[in-house]
């Protein structure tokens, strides 16, 4: 299916997600007439089949979602959402931090900066059962973790500190950054899940 893939472009790793989706489309040879574009306003969102919420600073993105009148439109959005790092924080029902206004779209509690500061950021080869082709090389940057996953949330990967990859319905949320590097398997998984 051809689709309109929106990447929330308020702050953060926007262009990398756009490039990763373009590469994923090229590799799967599906939806070759699909478009990938930036979403800054409710009008942009109305054109989207699916949405990605990229990594960045979650407090900043949360504030700009409210400021740009995107909070309710994203909550009402019918398509799947692919959320990475800061995106994962925003998708939660609960975040133990008053500075975040979470969207509450996935039944989970998320802890920000769960591994510590930048010097504790790390790369690791993560075994993921539902992904073919071996472990996924994951980049964790001041990453969050899921500390509680509700009954409708499926865990895809976990580390000692908590759950780092989840799905619920058409949504996927990851603690790490699949858009850094050229392994597009998670982007492909998300597109497939949404019939693209």
């Amino acid at each position: 299916m051809d689709a309109n893939i929106g990447v929330l472009a308020l702050q953060g790793n926007v262009s990398e997600h756009i490039d990763a989706f373009l590469l994923a489309l090229e590799r799967t040879r599906h939806g070759s007439a699909s478009e990938v574009f930036e979403v800054r306003s409710p009008a942009d969102l109305a054109d989207c089949t699916v949405l990605a919420i990229p990594g960045g600073e979650s407090t900043t993105i949360s504030r700009l979602i409210d400021k740009n009148g995107l909070y309710e439109p994203i909550r009402q959005f019918r398509g799947g959402i692919f959320a990475t790092c800061a995106g994962m924080v925003l998708m939660a029902t609960e975040v133990a931090d008053p500075r975040i206004h979470p969207l509450g779209l996935m039944d989970m509690t998320v802890d920000r900066n769960a591994f510590g500061r930048q010097k504790e950021s790390f790369e690791a080869d993560l075994p993921i059962a539902s992904l073919e082709g071996g472990p996924f090389h994951a980049i964790f940057i001041r990453a969050p973790v899921v500390t509680r996953a509700g009954s409708r949330v499926t865990t895809l990967a976990r580390l000692e500190q908590g759950i780092v990859a989840v799905e619920q319905g058409k949504n996927i949320a990851l603690s790490f950054h699949p858009e850094l590097g050229d392994d597009t398997r998670f982007h492909e998984m998300f597109l497939k899940k949404n019939g693209i």
């Binding site: 990594g55 900043t60 500075r99 500061r117 930048q118 940057i141």
Partner: protein, 298 residues
């Protein structure tokens, strides 16, 4: 997963961290209270300092890394990343800031240089670095030393955007010019600007620097910030511009929104309304030679 299977402090993690700051505003703060105001306004990170650049100018003397107590106070006050400045070449100040837990180190010409020959060997650190540059040669020499982010220098503490514009136009123009050169000409150009040829070629292929490029040094209003974004900056540093203005909270919020909507003059008009006075500005042409900061660290 065992700890030994995890890799820390890699080039990808450093550049990845820098990339997360894109489209954001990094604000200079000198205490916990200012840090909280910056965070509340939507800053992506704060730069912890002893004094903002305009006060460094007034104070004169040797400007050094901030007191660790101050850096720790700021780290504890906010959840966004905290950066800190060290003197050019002062790798021990950098070791101290790394131990304190700052998320990025600015090897900055705003402080008094500790080494007039060498910059810090930034590849020896787990924490990422940002460095200033006025042109493509300076930028690529810093990237070659391990900088994960470049910021155009501008002229800090002046509230005058003219040098920031000059440096951003210079770098963007040099990269555009590269696209018309063949490989041999690029290698020749690399020698001329004293930069590694492979980094020059990478810039030509990507049409941009190998790392994110922010703007700094003289941004004092929402319009200044949007100007730098339209000229090609990935984000902005605002030093004295916020806490030396009449209403720091409004100025901070206005600049964040102007960066977010940098191509929408209607929004910039709205957020520029009723801000009160911006910081007092200086004419950069009237600075004495020893007052010019941008020439430090080539």
């Amino acid at each position: 997963m065992k700890l030994e299977e995890l890799r820390f402090g890699t080039e990808l993690l450093k550049r990845g961290f820098a990339s997360m700051q894109k489209g954001g505003v990094i604000m200079d703060v000198v205490n916990a209270e200012q840090a909280k105001i910056a965070e509340e306004a939507g800053a992506v990170a704060v730069m912890s300092l002893e004094r903002v650049p305009s006060d460094i100018r007034k104070a004169g003397g040797v400007a050094r890394m901030a007191d660790p107590e101050k850096v720790t106070e700021i780290i504890e006050a906010v959840s966004i990343p905290v950066m800190g400045k060290v003197r050019i070449g002062h790798f021990v100040e950098a070791q101290v800031l790394e131990v304190l837990g700052v998320d990025m180190i600015d090897e900055s010409e705003v402080l008094t240089p500790a080494d007039e020959q060498y910059h810090i060997d930034k590849k020896q650190f787990k924490v990422p670095f940002v460095c200033g540059a006025r042109n493509l040669g300076e930028a690529l020499r810093r990237v070659n030393e391990g900088a994960a982010m470049i910021r155009t220098k501008g002229e800090a503490g002046t509230g005058n955007v003219v040098e920031a514009v000059r440096h951003m136009r210079t770098i963007m123009g040099e990269i555009r010019m590269l696209r018309g050169l063949d490989k041999q000409e690029m290698a020749d150009y690399a020698r001329e600007i004293e930069a590694p040829a492979e980094l020059v070629i990478e810039c030509a292929e990507r049409g941009r620097l190998p790392v994110v490029n922010f703007s700094a040094g003289g941004i004092a209003t929402p319009s200044d910030a949007a100007l730098m974004m339209q000229l090609g900056a990935d984000g902005v540093f605002v030093g004295s511009g916020i806490f030396k203005s009449n209403n720091p909270e409004l100025m901070a919020k206005g600049i964040v929104e102007a960066v977010n909507h940098f191509d929408d003059p209607q929004v910039i008009a709205k957020v520029s309304t009723g801000l009160g006075d911006a910081m007092p500005g200086l004419d950069v042409h009237k600075l004495r030679e020893d007052e010019v900061l941008q020439t430090r660290g080539r």
